[in-house]
């Protein structure tokens, strides 16, 4: 207890940049606080009432130039900080193209993580050094917030909407994972660990699949494909026939024209919404005939479906990271399709 840590570990590419601005701000705060406090203290002592000897002639006259200086200088300083902060923010907001996808579901009070290769973890997340990771996150109940201090990243996890976050770990180790948005009784128990491994170790871990709750049954896309069949999606959404429903192949990332004439990008959020409330945004030329899947499919399953539809490829360039083509995936093909992944391990206790 008796040591005084001042900084969390610097374990992502952001950490150094955020800390840089932080140290600048600390220096700025210290400078102004000390400067003004010293000025105040100096004047409080020098011009104390009992000091009759000091010269009080010609006190500062009202002075527009001076006011302009102390309006202008702080304005310039804050604008510098503003642009500096925005610069970092953009980096944090824009995942690189080579990021691997991982899926996070928050619920009172645990984190569930799915790897595209099929591993599932609870309150623990294994990632590799140097490999950017893009998280697609959703909450099953209230708002949570995914926070890894060592990575200097945080993002609220909302119910009903995907939010995303990315980071690139730089240092092997075990780091805190916190829920930062108050989410109920056991809010402070909604914590976990992020395990950053060397790439080789990480590959071994993926292959072993021995970790907490991890089942190397299928890749997420395969699990999604299975749901696609069992839920009957496939009867209308055919691979080659667009008469009853749009073809989903190559949909991801494409721009879609809706019945109303507007266009939307077919991102994860759009796919999710279209499964749950099919009527909300109907592709031009189709009627509202698709059943509503709200309350019939869990968030975890939804993520698998989304992952499957993403795996069907995107428009021209395709999505490099969306399709997990790693070795374990083919290995997983070996298991019979009937072996359903353990996807209902942690079903919400609260079915509203």
């Amino acid at each position: 207890m008796w040591n005084f840590p001042l900084l969390p570990d610097q374990a992502s590419t952001f950490a150094g940049r955020v800390d840089g601005l932080y140290f600048f701000l600390v220096a700025l705060t210290a400078f102004f606080t000390v400067m003004i406090s010293l000025m105040v203290a100096f004047m409080a002592i020098r011009y104390r009432e009992t000091n009759t000897k000091v010269n009080r002639d010609n006190p500062l006259p009202e002075n527009p130039t001076m006011e302009a200086v102390w309006i202008g200088v702080p304005l310039v300083i804050v604008l510098v900080i503003f642009f500096w902060g925005v610069n970092i923010y953009f980096a944090i907001a824009r995942p690189p193209a080579n990021a691997v996808d991982m899926y996070v579901t928050g619920k009172q009070w645990m984190w569930k993580i799915q790897h595209p290769t099929g591993q599932r973890e609870i309150n623990e997340m294994h990632v590799a050094v140097g490999q950017p990771v893009r998280l697609t996150m959703i909450s099953q109940d209230v708002i949570h917030s995914f926070y890894v201090p060592a990575f200097r990243v945080k993002q609220d996890v909302l119910p009903g909407r995907y939010s995303q976050l990315w980071f690139e770990p730089t240092k092997p180790g075990i780091y805190h994972l916190f829920c930062a948005e108050f989410c109920g009784t056991k809010h402070s128990g909604m914590i976990g660990r992020v395990v950053v491994m060397e790439p080789a170790d990480y590959e071994r871990w993926l292959a072993g699949g021995s970790s907490n709750g991890g089942s190397l049954g299928q890749t997420m896309a395969d699990a999604g494909a299975q749901i696609f069949e069992t839920q009957g999606c496939i009867t209308c959404h055919k691979m080659d026939d667009a008469s009853r429903a749009p073809i989903l192949k190559g949909l991801y990332g494409k721009s879609v024209t809706l019945n109303g004439g507007e266009t939307v990008t077919a991102d994860e959020q759009y796919i999710r919404e279209s499964i749950l409330r099919s009527g909300a945004k109907i592709v031009a030329g189709y009627g509202p005939i698709m059943p509503v899947y709200q309350n019939r499919i869990s968030e975890d399953e939804l993520m698998q479906l989304v992952s499957y539809i993403k795996s069907l490829g995107g428009p021209a360039t395709g999505t490099p990271a969306a399709t997990p083509s790693a070795a374990p995936a083919s290995e997983a093909k070996g298991t019979p399709a009937a072996a359903k992944p353990a996807q209902n391990v942690n079903e919400p206790s609260r079915n509203k």
Binding site: M1, N3, F4, P5, L6, R17, Y22, L25, T29, T33, I36, S37, M39, V40, M43, Y47, R48, E49, V54, N55, R56, D57, P59, L60, E62, E67, W70, I71, P74, V78, F82, G85, V86, I88, Y89, A93, Q108, D141, V142, I143, Y147, V153, K154, Q155, D156, L158, P159, G160, R161, S163, H176, F178, A180, F182, G184, H187, S188, G189, I191, R350
Partner: protein
Amino acid sequence: MDTTSTVERVSATGIISDTIRTNFLNADYGIKSWLLTKDHKRIAILYLISITVFFMIGGAFAAMIRMELITPEADVFTSEAYNKVFTTHGIMMVFFFLIPSIPATLGNFLVPVMVGARDLAFPRINLLSWYIYVIGGLFTLTALVLGGVDTGWTFYTPYSSTYSNGYVMLTGIGIFITGFSSILTGLNFIVTVHKMRAPGLGWFRLPLFVWANYAASLIMVLGTPVVAIGIVMIALERGLGLGIFDPRLGGDPVLFQHIFWFYSHPAVYIMILPGMGVVSEIMACFSRRHIFGYKFIAFSSLGIAIIGFLVWGHHMFVSGQSSYAGIVFSLFTFIVAVPSAIKVFNWTATMHKGRIVYSTPMMYALGFIGLFLVGGLTGLFCASLGVDIHIHDTYFIVAHFHYVMVGGSVMAYLGGIHFWWPKMTGRMYPEGWGRFSALLVFVGFNLTFFPQFIAGYLGMPRRYHVYPPEFQIYNVLSSGGALVLGIGFTIPLIYLFWSLKYGEKAGPNPWRAAGLEWETTSPPPTFNFDYQPVVDHEPYNYSEIDARSSATVSTHSVQEEQHV
């Protein structure tokens, strides 16, 4: 001899004699004369008492939080109880202490006197606002007694609307009701300042305290109804099953955050602006100088009030709002820092070549500047997008807003209470104890909240009941500081109470201060002045006052000799 000028002027008009005067305190007796009073000064006293009660409740809950957090494990409370404790602390302090603190007590007492009016424009509405406040408070206390509420003072949906098991609706109604008390106070101030200023009292002769309260009133009138409707929507959702924020119906829980912060961020300025007004008065008086940059301070209050309405989204940088929205809100947040900086620089310049008197109010005001500096500058951390992503919802934020709200508002509030105590009660408080407790509050405060900055940057999330052990040292320091702070707050409570009976009698103007409130007697008569005050000079004319008082010493004796 400091009172001579006033007395001379008053007796010249031949209105009063030297018999025992009636003032607003002894004008009438009995509990009914208080509970049905329309006198703004008595209503201010009623507010003072009730606010102190809520402050003590909020403080007790703060003590419980600090007690629990001494060790990383759960020692005193279950998680459920702990969540209710910090929620209660937040709700009590924000809605029932900080927002009404300076406006409803000092503002209520002083704004009419400072503008030379007999009362606020609508005395009955003023009394009504106090009753509304008390009823709202009782609702909230009832919710607590019945079992509490665990949403945090921010009531984020869908936790508050769907998942929480606490008495959200009852608390919500309590806060909704209390909101109207704040709206009515603001409305009263706006009309009073516009329509009831004494002859000669132009806008730029108004004391800066009045400017600050006017700016705060604008926020109360414009912002409070928005949070009120937000809370109504939550109550409708909880009580009647409407679904405006319900994600299962396609509703957007983040919309509630927008509505909530649209008020609750400007609400921070409701808390701090009147405090800045108090500091302006104190700094001028105890530097014995005209306040430096009067117009800049006055307009910076308005600037803060206006720009303050454009920054709410900085509470939501990681909430999933659009990144472009985040950038705009960040920019405005940086810009709103500038008017605060203007004030600090002008206060500092006011001291230059002044005659600094180390009175208790001045100690609080100087403490305010120091703490507000840290509070304001750490606001820059929170405003800059890159850093805020890391520190959002951590103890860094907790430390930052306590520096502003406690280090700023509460220090100013205590300073103001000491400064105008002789005016309000006619008695002086014990100066030595005053200085001692001001020092204690300053030290205790820093000890409590400075470590939280570090704990926050280390990554300790707020509202955590149990926490990883590496944060413990900072929590221990913080809890130790809280003890000192608690003592620092208790001492004034005792000696101010004591001074009501035993304090030295204060004349009309014990500080030789400028301003209409010091021209009337202490405590003032029911209608504030025995004559129609007319203002024929600029505000903060301390050099004239000091010149006059040193002149009257000599002329007075000469005159007396001639009389003899």
